[in-house]
């Protein structure tokens, strides 16, 4: 008997533990791809639900609602609203942070109203209890008329019950909407359904509110006319609906959530913030963390890099001797192997740097860094959220650019993407060291190693030029779109090592396979150019210096 295959979408607010749950569900059976045409990562994975049901799980970008504000939120909305999408799920799991139930349920009820089969995975119930937020799961389930499963994503608790709930939900019949928009906007939603040719009240309401829904050509004219005829201003209608929805949610919260005594967790976050957001110490601490981070990255990765270097050197020698002499030998050794070595050698640095960034992000610290740098970065056309791409750019620009997707303003996102490659990525370091070794004497300057100082200056030049170019582009790129900085500051927490490890694996994969393809191709082209270059003199220089620098240089230029 063949297994039944179903599709599951995993949606939820940012910081709700969505990625942790996804990892718990799929383990390493994950694939990271791209949504067509945009730089938003698409994560899918496989999981066994039962002996005869297999599930493909798609991890949607974190979102607060079905009214998207950024590119990645748009993706979440489009997958959920488009029943012809290849990823349209049979069951949607909404993961909610129990400490933030009111806001999490907002997205949940929107998805219920799209007529989807929904299961609520209630995460962090233990932390909520400590904070004095006591959630009655049975009452909540009854009030929402869906299955609610308490889980602990970090400890992989409740996953089996969640799987059972999903299986129960697969063949559920459509339910009553949570908030009936056709009653709020009487007679209008039905007409919008007719215009769209699709019977889905909530999706039609979204279309009426000027949301682009993918997979269908919306007759915007007819919808606008419909609004006009009924004195509906889309923005007002959307606000009205949101307020009504929250009112209905507040009733449920009153019923299912009791307030107890907090155990002082918020106090802890408050005390740490006193220091980390301090007008003086906040910046000093941030710069010190950066300094330590780079020190650690370079000293820790030195050993594995040497190992990889000698491994590839030996491999080249063995291959060169094993293969018959000639052009093919040269291509394999100096083109392909040299290129491969030039890629793999950066894995340690990239892994360490992203480990630190993932660690800082998972603790909640990066949100504070954005908070204290937004004003400064805004002055040069960037956003507080640009800080993560800029920092990641010091490791490898490819995954760094991918992380710019959370910036909602098109202009700020574009500038961030354009200037991130100006940051000195780890692959440029060997070139810097080479140049410094050649032209800067190994002397002391004011008690510091002059070569070390010049290297630091190189990094600073990268940063300063990124900021300078951003400032110029601020005037070149015209955009009427307003920029926003609306960001949750999560409570501090001890980072989950699994999340950090998975983040490293993911970033290294992006570097090896996405950037690697191009590096190999460029390395072969460079091999061709250097093999057929005229003159013996050039060859001598090439032998002396370029052999090592070439392939490394290939990927940062």
């Amino acid at each position: 008997m063949s297994k039944r295959k179903i599709k599951i979408a995993l949606a939820g607010n940012p910081n709700s533990g969505k990625t942790t749950l996804f990892n718990a569900f799929t383990g390493l059976k994950q694939k990271v791809g791209n949504y067509p045409g945009i730089t938003v990562e698409k994560k899918t994975g496989k999981s066994n639900l039962s002996a005869d049901i297999d599930a493909k799980i798609i991890d949607l970008p974190g979102t607060y609602s079905l009214f998207p504000k950024s590119m990645d939120e748009e993706v979440a909305q489009q997958v959920l609203c488009n029943s012809t999408d290849q990823d349209y799920p049979d069951v949607t799991i909404i993961i909610a942070d129990a400490t933030n139930l009111r806001r999490s349920i907002f997205l949940l009820t929107q998805v219920i109203d799209l007529n989807m089969n929904v299961v609520l995975a209630l995460n962090m119930v233990d932390i909520a209890t400590k904070k004095g937020i006591l959630v009655n799961v049975d009452l909540l389930s009854e009030a929402l008329a869906i299955q609610v499963v308490a889980i602990n994503a970090r400890k992989s608790k409740g996953i089996e019950s969640l799987k059972e709930a999903i299986i129960n939900a697969i063949d559920e019949k459509p339910k009553q909407p949570f908030l009936d928009v056709s009653k709020i906007f009487k007679g209008i939603i039905e007409k919008a359904n007719v215009i769209r040719g699709i019977e889905n009240n909530y999706a039609s309401f979204l279309a009426l509110c000027k949301q682009k829904l993918s997979g269908e050509v919306i007759n915007r004219c007819a919808l606008n006319q419909l609004c006009k005829n009924n004195d509906i201003i889309p923005e007002r209608a959307q606000a009205k609906e949101t307020v009504k929805r929250y009112k209905a949610i507040d009733k449920i919260i009153q019923l299912a959530v009791k307030k107890g005594k907090p155990e002082g967790k918020y106090q802890f976050t408050k005390k740490v913030d006193d220091l980390l957001i301090h007008p003086f110490f906040g910046y000093v601490i941030f710069l010190s963390i950066l300094f330590l981070l780079f020190q650690a990255v370079f000293s820790w990765s030195a050993y594995p890099m040497e190992l990889i270097d000698s491994l590839f050197t030996n491999l080249s020698i063995i291959t060169a001797n094993a293969m018959p002499q000639g052009m093919l030998n040269d291509l394999v050794v100096n083109g392909i192997l040299a290129g491969l070595g030039g890629i793999v050698i950066f894995v340690p640095q990239i892994a360490f740097l992203f480990a630190f960034i993932a660690f800082l992000e998972d603790t909640g610290y990066m949100a504070r860094v954005s908070f204290i740098t937004d004003k400064l970065l805004r002055g040069v056309g960037l956003n507080g959220r640009s800080i993560i791409p800029l920092l990641s750019g010091a490791a490898c620009a490819v995954p760094a650019i991918m992380s710019a997707r959370t910036i909602s303003s098109w202009k700020e996102r574009l500038i961030t993407i354009m200037v991130t490659p100006l940051m000195s990525c780890s692959a440029r370091l060997p070139v810097y060291t080479l140049i410094i070794a050649m032209i800067i004497p190994a002397e002391d300057f004011l008690g510091f190693n002059l070569q070390g100082l010049v290297l630091m200056v190189f990094y600073l030049i990268g940063f300063v030029s990124a900021i300078g170019v951003a400032y110029l582009m601020k005037f070149i790129i015209k955009s009427k779109e307003r920029s926003y900085y609306i960001m949750e500051m999560p409570s501090y927490k001890i980072p989950d090592w699994k999340t950090v490890v998975y983040a490293i694996i993911e970033k290294v994969k992006v570097f090896l396979f996405d950037a690697g393809k191009i590096i190999i191709a460029v390395s072969i082209v460079l091999w061709f150019l250097s093999s057929f270059a005229p003159g013996k003199k050039f060859e001598q220089i090439e032998q002396q210096w370029a052999g090592k620098a070439r392939c490394r240089n290939a990927h940062c230029s």
Binding site: I133, E235, A239, Y283, Y485, M487, P490
Partner: protein
Amino acid sequence: MQKLANLAIGTKGEMRSISDSDLEQKLLEMGCTPGEKIEVVRKAPFGGPIAILVSSYVLSIRKDDALKIDVKLLKDE
């Protein structure tokens, strides 16, 4: 009635209205609905964003945007 941007840290209030419809929609869906209790918990240095406590989480917004938000002050309980 006061503008959110002008409140001191520790001030408690109740959300009233937001005079910018784009901003309003974004804040509404984050739970800043009219009547919701808020508290100013933090301000970033040099006129940077401010952070408010709303439905048990901390939300940060720019000062310019906070100028468009009307808040009714609440006496300490």
